[in-house]
C-alpha cells in the first residue's frame, strides 16, 4: 500500500530549488566550460593563432587588442574556463580509475578543483596578462 502510494507521487525536481551538492556544481561547470570552449573558444583560439603568425602587422594588431582591460578580463575568464575544465577532467580520470569515489573524498576533490583552478588562473593571469 505504502509502495503504491509512493509510486504515484509526482516526480518533479526543480533544479533551481534543490540544493546542489558540490560535485554536481563542478560537473555542470565542466559541461558549461566545455561548450563555451567549443564555441566561441575554438574559433577565437584559431583567430588568435592566425594573427600571431600571419604578418608582423597582424601580430601588432593582436598585441594592441590585448592592451584593452576589457579584453584582458575576457582572456582571464577564458583561462579560468580552460583550467576549470582541465582540473575537473583530471578529477574525472581519477574517478575512472576508482580513485576518490567515496562521498567524502568526491566532495573534497570537487572543492580542490574549484580552489586549484581559481588559484592557477590568478597566477597565470597575474604573470602573463595584467
Amino acid at each position: 500500500m505504502a509502495a503504491k502510494y509512493l509510486n504515484k507521487r509526482p516526480k518533479h525536481l526543480n533544479l533551481f530549488k534543490i540544493n546542489q551538492p558540490l560535485p554536481a556544481i563542478v560537473s555542470i561547470m565542466h559541461r558549461i566550460s566545455g561548450v563555451i570552449l567549443f564555441f566561441p573558444g575554438i574559433p577565437l583560439i584559431l583567430l588568435g593563432l592566425q594573427m600571431l603568425l600571419d604578418t608582423p602587422e597582424s601580430f601588432e594588431a593582436l598585441q594592441t587588442f590585448f592592451l584593452n582591460p576589457l579584453v584582458k578580463f575576457g582572456l582571464t575568464c577564458f583561462i579560468w574556463l580552460c583550467l576549470h575544465h582541465l582540473c575537473a577532467g583530471i578529477r574525472h580520470l581519477a574517478l575512472d580509475l576508482h580513485c576518490g569515489v567515496e562521498l567524502a573524498k568526491a566532495r573534497a576533490s570537487s572543492n580542490w578543483v574549484l580552489i586549484v583552478s581559481v588559484s592557477l588562473t590568478l597566477i597565470t593571469a597575474g604573470v602573463l596578462i595584467w
Binding site: 561548450v35 567549443f38 584559431l46 603568425l53 604578418t55 601580430f59 580520470l93 575512472d96
Partner: protein, 119 residues
C-alpha cells in the same frame, strides 16, 4: 539458466571508443600544453619573428596540428554528448550535429593553413 547467445545485444559499441577517445585526446592535449609552456618559458618570445621561429620547426607544426586534431575530436565527443542529453527532437539534434562536424572540419583545414602558410 540463461542461454548464451553469440549475438551482442548491447549496441554498436562506439560508445566505448568515444569514451576512450575522450580520455586519450585529453591526456595528449595536456602533454602538448606542458611542452608548449616549456618552449615558451625557455625562449620568452617577445616579437613576431620570435613567435614565427617557434613554429618554424617542422616537429612543432606537426605537434600543434596533432593537438588541434585531438582538440576537435575531444570537442566532437563532448558536444555530441551534450546534444544527446538536451536536444530531444531528432531532426534538430541531427542538424546541430552535422553543423558541429562541418565546423570542426573547416577548423581543421584552417589550422593546417595557419601552420603551413609560414613556409
Amino acid at each position: 539458466m540463461v542461454k548464451q547467445s553469440g549475438r551482442i545485444t548491447t549496441g554498436a559499441h562506439y560508445g566505448l571508443i568515444d569514451w576512450l577517445a575522450q580520455r586519450v585526446t585529453a591526456v595528449f592535449m595536456v602533454v602538448y600544453i606542458v611542452l608548449f609552456v616549456v618552449v615558451v618559458v625557455s625562449t620568452v618570445p617577445q616579437d613576431y619573428a620570435a613567435w614565427v621561429a617557434i613554429f618554424d620547426f617542422q616537429w612543432m607544426r606537426i605537434a600543434s596540428f596533432l593537438f588541434f586534431m585531438a582538440l576537435f575530436w575531444h570537442a566532437w565527443v563532448g558536444v555530441r554528448n551534450v546534444l544527446m542529453d538536451y536536444v530531444k527532437p531528432v531532426a534538430v539534434r541531427l542538424g546541430m550535429q552535422v553543423l558541429v562536424i562541418v565546423s570542426l572540419l573547416i577548423y581543421l583545414i584552417w589550422t593546417a593553413e595557419i601552420l603551413w602558410s609560414l613556409m
